[in-house]
Amino acid sequence: MTGSLNLWLIPLVPFAGFLVNGLVGRKLPKVLVTAIALICTLIPFLQVAKIWFQFSSITTPYIEHLGTWIWSGAFHADFDLQLDQLTMVMLLVVTGVGFLIHIYSVGYMAHEEGYWRFFAYLNLFMFFMLTLVLSENFLLMFVGWEGVGLASYLLIGFYILKDSAVRAGIKAFVVNRIGDFGFLIALFLLIAHFGTLSYHEVFAQIAQHPEWQGGVLTAIALFLVLGATGKSAQIPLYVWLPDAMEGPTPVSALIHAATMVTAGVYMVSRTHIIFDRSPFALSTVAIIGAATCFFAATMGLLQTDIKRVLAYSTVSQLGYMFLACGVAAYSSAIFHLVTHAFFKALLFLAAGSVIHSIGGEQDMRVMGGLRKKIPVTFWTMTAAVFSICGFPPFAGFFSKDGILYQAFISPNGGKILWFFGWVTAGLTSFYMFRLWYLTFLGESRAESHELAEHGAPVHARADSKLAVEDEHPHSVHESPWVMLGPLVILAILATIGGFIGVPAAMGGHDEIGHFLDPVLGTGNHPPGGENSGLELALSASAVLIGLVGLLVVHILYKVKPELPGKLATQFHGLYNLVVNKYWVDQIYGAVIVTPLLLFSRYILKALIDRGIIDGAGFAAGATAQGFGAIVQRVQSGNIRSYAGWLAVGAAVLLIAVYFGFTAHF
């Protein structure tokens, strides 16, 4: 490999786009804003593609030293970028999907206020996300980590006049801070224990000491997991992600489905050398993953907001990735990350297209019958639904079954983990096909506005696309091609993307797994051979439960549409539990948020801040004022009194010198 790869271009070009659009975008014409934003995302993509085509000639990991950031004694943290197989995969996903979503946004956001602001934030997000995946040390990763959180906050609260959006942004930010706290503690532990934050130095030290097991490594790993649960919306910190749907739909697709929320999975995979030394941390990750994928899926079952279904589905799918990480199947996790980026971005963009086409409505109960009216959206969405439900040969089939198989064969309760994942596959199929049926099939319920499926009143959502709605309330129209183009490309990827990782048991070569071997280790993808029968059986069972989910939906929402209401009344308690998402938000509110607010308001604010800190300040001020009131009399402005003081001072000095201090000289 000759010459530099110019990795620095990849994050910094979007940053330049952010600066231009963010500083002067308000005054620029819309076309120019669009051009800047798109070009500043296209250049990194082309650069990544160029690197990809010459990747075989690069010695990995390729490290690009850009400068020293912190240098204190033996410790130093550098601006170092790193390229290896894992980074390569992430770069392709982030820049590729990111660019497609940028294109889509041009159509989706066309009528919005603050168009320039939106694209400036998107470019800012790209900058931080690319920094996150390119960094060669934990500290630079943390910069990206915090930065994507910031961009996420800005974009969730993009509709700054909408109270719920602003609150959702704050919630996302605050919940993420809890996770970031864990990440920070992990960084401090790393510095204390290894004296460095560079990946390869830390990993080299661990490799030199095979006797290190658990202990501080477990502590580091667990704090990293806390960070990952925040960013990747896992139990217990998943609560922000459903609310994050207040942001514009392309944001949900880019940040809250395809890229940012997978940062936790990326981080665990990147630091797998630490996790491999701590079975306890690994099982924690696996349990968190299995629990999250199951519970989030149940919460998604009865949601009525199309984007919220997808949000819970995202949480659930991220749970799968965590489950894979927890059973040390990192390449399966990354594989699912990739396919998930395709089909979930597609689902969100298609949902956005649906919302766009019917003028801003997000409630599935008033949709229906859209199949004929928006056919392109329908077919792309269908590809995504089949992909996420894991029907062969769609992308989700290969990646999800890889995870389930790995969970099944892992020791220490792998069968239980597998069972939760397997049930979740059925639940996934249920809520996705429910969405599909309610949105596209049947008769349109938009005109009648009758009471929807369970007799609950239809509440008109304060929708995000205020401007469009009033102009044409009911004229359903297919979205423009600038939006449909990305949908079609993603639909192709969601359909065939799985062929990059066909397992050996199905006659494939698991290309992505082998590609990632140099980074993630060779032990984490299953060999073919004697277990292939088991793997095929598990795949078949997963497809089967997916079909069961489809069948149940078909019965409930097509054959006997009156049945859901009956079931809801019959299993009233369970129904309420699920509809209210296990009251987790309420419990968090009562147990954590309210006490914290009360404590802040009455102890921290009233007593400590107002009482002690302000009190001390006021007391000091009053003392100085009182003293000043006395002393200020001296400074009368009267020249003769000044001269008098001068004379008195001179006299005192003379007397002192004459009588007292002469002895000392």
Partner: protein, 100 residues
């Protein structure tokens, strides 16, 4: 030969008169004159010691003091004129504000 302390006593008296006048008088020109008086009392001391120790540096100092005094007189008188123009008074007790 006049003993040195004669000069010193004379100088002290002149200086004290200067200080007293500075403190007592209200007219700004009189105060100005009293400053000159103090300076010249010091000059007298310098010259006396220069003569006493046969050293020329004391006399050189006197020239410096004179130069400074002259400069001060020029600047000071200009200020006095400016004050009189704006306030129509030369009484220092009524000139105790930095601005009008």
């Amino acid at each position: 030969m006049v003993p040195i302390y004669y000069y010193l006593i004379l100088s002290a008296i002149l200086f004290s008169i200067g200080v007293a006048a500075f403190l007592i008088k209200r007219n700004i020109i009189t105060i100005f004159m009293s400053i000159e008086l103090m300076l010249n009392a010091v000059n007298l001391t310098f010259v006396a010691f220069a003569h006493h120790w046969h050293q020329v540096s004391g006399q050189i100092f006197v020239f410096f003091v004179m130069v400074v005094a002259a400069a001060e007189a020029a600047v000071g008188l200009a200020i006095i004129i400016a004050i009189f123009r704006t306030r129509n008074t030369l009484n220092v007790d009524s000139v105790d504000l930095m601005k009008l």
